[in-house]
């Protein structure tokens, strides 16, 4: 094959986003913007109790309200075998409660009415007789002897334990600890959080009784998976189900699961023969849909006196809510939490995980995170800082000393991952240089000793694992986690790219067009990217866990190269040259040694439909299903400096310096946008954003007045830098970046606040590190003013 001289015309260019024109004009097309003729509106009645037996439900008053068309209860659904549905982790979840409610906010009944206001009026007319039951609000409580069994509906469930799962080598780890000079321990809770995309969930279900076709417009990050789940749950023939996921107002993992509202709306449309719209309200979104995190973690690090890390032991207990509903690869019970060895060359590690039912919402979704990687990264990065204090060494230097070295890649971790590539020291060095680390440490000392001001510096050197995933290890409900791209180059040289993933703001319409443009030598504006309609895109597992670029991005590059190989044959025919004499220079095909004889992709595309050489199939179209050979491992170092107000306990970031290495960057502007969003998420979790419950299981954080989300006023300014270490196995060397900063930054912020108080012996502060928690630590150490 002739050698290609490739220049990147479109990779690495900050092309302005194609999507923006419609959004800035208010012309986006979110599901709630769609109105169908004869459409009905649905509202959901939710349980006020966290745990209660349902003695009776009387819908007669609601049913009698003018404008109400139907009231759906669990009993009605049970007649159609729809009262329960499977979760993405192979458990079951109630669609509408029949026997009991098991969380506050659980769906109890639905009203379908001509008008949405009437539907909500009718909810107040439904009389439910609840008999409250003892409530389990923590996983520790759930696993106590004699705790109420939450899932007594399941025959094989005698207690509240969901799973026990281990990774790594226990014996080797025990030996490492027996031989250690020192052991550093840290117990911490990564609190329950909620992705809270600005657009809540919802759908319009339109079942055509004449054709049997069910078209469901829904907020779906994974429309193809949802189609299959609908087919399995409802028993509808899959060819008659069309899921259309229009523009999505943010997802962050929240729009991966199937929720009861989707199922009831579809059932109602099937029974009533009219389209049914369900728009979730914010309280419904926060109290009932996929939460994230809620891991109780105990970490132990074995060290030599010289600072060498020799072993890691982790125990984790997960609060799963009343159903096990993590949207995660089915073989991995605690997701990818066993990446907890992070960026360090740890010869031995053992991770023990348990999950338990509680009377809370199910979920455990990958909230801007690749299946529990955030929790893992947080634990190891907090633990390393604690170890640095124990050894009396600089936290950044202890990291450097123990990093996996560049020459060790591909690196097999103690828990079984094979890291594809990395240069951790380069990212650390750049971050320290950019923040002015030495001067900053001096400033910290001076401020403390001379002015009594408390400045803290936090470092986090994270490693992520994204791009699920290789089919031998990764599936959801048995569906292998490949992804797909279908590329059609039209006769005029314009193209349409159809993908199995679904953007929710990540800019796929721009970046994926750039991949095609770069491979085919046509401008990105000539490539239309289509996603989200299951009738018109190839099967794929969807967008979450930073997987779109590693999987669908790879599929796009591969199919574009396949078409280019065919185009070369056509070009040879047009140029009347032997194929091996035709070279591609990134923009055109030319005969070797005679560059004036050239054909563009547009010339070739036209010929593919008008003047095809004999023996070649017509057209310039193809589809590729990409099964990644490995995961990708983005990494970076974040350094955060904060100052604590000794009078109030409030802390403020002074500097946030981020060095990210996500491999080759397709569109740097979009990459930076993703990173800044993630750094904000990290700040949110570190400082304010969490969902708590009182002892009766009442959700504290059921609206945006109680569930605190940072505004522009609190959010820090970010300083972004990059290193580029390509993934060796990805066709364009990209790794995925949507979640790096959410994964890496919480520990950097918390480390910084702890660091400000480390000189008085503070070693841990729990997230969210709220002013009252800081003030308590100040007060205890005599630093409060």
């Amino acid at each position: 094959m002739a050698t290609e001289t490739r220049q990147h015309q479109w990779l690495g260019k900050s092309v302005k986003r194609r999507e923006d024109d419609r959004f800035v004009q208010g012309r986006g097309n979110y599901f709630d913007d769609i109105k169908l003729p004869n459409m009905l509106h649905m509202a959901i009645l939710r349980s006020p109790f966290a745990h209660a037996r349902i003695n009776s439900i009387d819908v007669s008053r609601a049913q009698a309200l003018p404008g109400v068309v139907a009231v759906v209860t669990g009993e009605l659904l049970a007649e159609h075998k729809l009262a329960w549905m499977p979760t993405l982790s192979g458990d079951t979840q109630a669609v509408l409660a029949t026997d009991k409610v098991r969380m506050q906010g659980q769906e109890v009944a639905c009203v379908v009415a001509e008008d949405v206001y009437v539907a909500h009026d009718a909810l107040e007319l439904i009389d439910v007789d609840y008999e409250p039951l003892p409530v389990v609000t923590t996983p520790q409580q759930a696993l106590e002897q004699g705790a109420p069994v939450i899932r007594d509906d399941k025959e094989d469930q005698a207690d509240n334990r969901i799973y026990h799962w281990e990774a790594g080598d226990k014996d080797a780890t025990d030996r490492a600890f027996a031989e250690a000079d020192r052991v550093v321990r840290l117990s911490t809770h990564y609190p329950r959080s909620h992705p809270a995309p600005l657009e809540c969930c919802g759908c319009i279900a339109d079942v055509n009784s004449a054709t049997g076709k069910a078209t469901v417009y829904m907020t779906s990050q994974a429309p193809h998976v949802h189609r299959t789940v609908f087919a399995l749950v409802a028993g509808l023939p899959e060819q008659n189900i069309q899921i259309i996921s229009p523009d999505i107002g943010g997802g962050f993992g929240n729009k991966v699961p199937v929720y009861p509202g989707y199922v009831v709306a579809t059932a109602a449309s099937l029974l009533l023969g009219r389209p049914v719209k369900w728009v979730e309200d914010r309280t419904g979104n926060l109290i009932s849909t996929g939460f994230a995190r809620d891991f109780y973690m105990d970490g132990e690090l074995a060290l030599k006196d010289d600072g060498t890390m020799t072993g890691l032991r982790v125990k984790m207990l997960s609060d799963q809510g009343y159903a096990y509903a993590d949207a995660q690869p089915s073989k991995l019970k605690a997701g990818l939490f066993h990446i907890v060895t992070g960026s360090y060359d740890l010869p031995a590690a053992h991770v023990v995980t348990d999950g338990a039912y509680t009377n809370k919402a199910p979920g455990g979704v990958a909230y801007r995170c690749s299946f529990r990687v955030t929790e893992a990264s947080f634990l190891i990065e907090r633990l390393v800082q604690a170890a640095a204090y124990e050894l009396g060494v600089d936290p950044a230097e202890l990291r450097r000393q123990n990093f996996i070295r560049t020459e060790q890649f591909p690196y097999r971790s103690a828990t079984g991952f094979v890291y594809d590539s990395g240069d951790y020291e380069r990212a650390l060095d750049l971050a320290l240089e950019q923040v002015g680390y030495t001067e900053l440490r001096e400033e910290q000392r001076r401020a403390r000793e001379e002015e009594g001001r408390l400045i803290g510096i936090g470092v986090a050197s994270f490693t992520e694992v994204v791009g699920a995933g290789p089919s031998k290890d990764y599936d959801i409900l048995g569906l292998k986690m490949f992804d797909s791209a279908e590329l059609r180059v039209h006769p005029t040289g314009k193209a349409i790219l159809k993908l199995g993933v679904r953007s929710q703001g990540q800019g796929h319409e721009t970046t994926f067009a750039q991949i095609v443009a770069d491979e085919l030598g046509i401008p990105p504006e000539d490539v239309l990217v289509q996603e989200g309609d299951t009738d018109n895109t190839p099967y794929g597992l969807g967008t979450y866990a930073s997987r779109s670029t590693p999987t669908a991005g790879a599929a796009t590059a591969v199919i574009a190269r396949t078409l280019r190989a065919k185009a070369r044959k056509i070009a040879a025919h047009l140029l009347e040259a032997a194929e091996e004499d035709v070279e591609w220079d990134g923009a055109k095909f030319a005969v070797r040694g005679a560059p004036e004889q050239a054909k563009t992709m547009q010339d070739v595309a036209f010929a593919a439909y008008t003047n095809m050489p004999e023996g070649l199939e017509h057209g310039l179209e193809g589809v590729h299903y990409y099964d990644p050979p490995n995961m990708t491992f983005p990494f970076g170092t974040y350094v955060v400096a904060v100052e604590i107000d000794r009078g109030t306990g409030q802390w403020k970031p002074l500097r946030v310096v981020a060095v990210d290495d996500c491999g080759v960057r397709i569109n740097p502007m979009i990459v930076d946008g993703q990173i800044m969003g993630g750094l904000t998420e990290g700040f949110a979790k570190a400082s304010m954003q969490c969902i708590t419950f009182d002892e009766d299981g009442n959700c504290i954080g059921s609206n945006f007045m109680d569930y605190l989300i940072p505004t522009a006023w609190e959010t820090p300014r970010f300083e972004l830098h990059e290193t580029v270490t390509p993934s060796p196995h990805h066709p364009i060397g990209a790794k995925g970046v949507g979640e790096s900063a959410t994964v890496g930054s919480p520990a950097a912020y918390v480390n910084a606040v702890v660091d400000a108080l480390a000189h008085v012996g503070v070693r841990n502060l729990e997230m969210p590190v709220s002013p009252d928690r800081v003030w308590a630590a100040l007060n205890e150490s005599g630093l409060a003013e």
């Binding site: 959004f23 800035v24 208010g26 979110y30 709630d32 995309p197 600005l198 969003g677």
Partner: protein, 154 residues
């Protein structure tokens, strides 16, 4: 009851229930879906519109309160087929990702620029602090408003 208001410069009338929220008047009765509902509790600003030039959160204003007044929505930003500088700023500076908060963000920014044509970063952050964005981390929104301030319509 019957109400009449000027919407993006055009007089519109509607027969509404007294309890109808302004956002539902705009989205459902007037058919303009650029104004979004994000939280129902005046917290997120996705539903921000300008009432007599002043930003209000239309999820907690009744439609009848807009009777006889001047309403501006995102659909009213574009003039003579040209994007408003604030719209161009959001595109130029990558001030949006999912786009759901964008109409509200642009409208509070427009009101800010009319009052303060050359706002500092701090002025902008304060002005948009009633509006939540879950995607961008705000930094590029601030830049977008600065861009608009520097590129006023002739």
């Amino acid at each position: 009851m019957e109400i009449t208001l000027r919407v993006n410069g055009v007089e519109r009338s509607a027969d509404v229930e007294p309890r109808l929220l302004l956002v539902h008047l705009v989205r459902e009765k007037l058919g303009m879906t650029g104004t979004h509902v994000g939280c129902d509790t005046t917290s997120c600003g996705a539903c921000t519109v300008l009432l007599d030039g002043v930003p209000v959160k239309s999820c907690t204003v009744f439609a009848v309160q807009a009777n006889g007044r001047e309403l501006t929505t995102v659909e009213g930003l574009m003039q003579n087929g040209q994007l408003h500088s604030i719209q161009r700023g959001f595109k130029e500076e990558h001030g949006l990702q999912c786009g759901f908060c964008t109409p509200g963000m642009m409208l509070v920014s427009k009101a800010l620029l009319e009052e303060n044509p050359d706002p500092s970063e701090e002025d902008i952050r304060w002005a948009i602090s009633g509006n939540i964005c879950r995607c961008t981390g705000y930094q590029n929104i601030v830049k977008a408003v600065r861009w608009a301030a520097a590129h006023k319509e002739a």
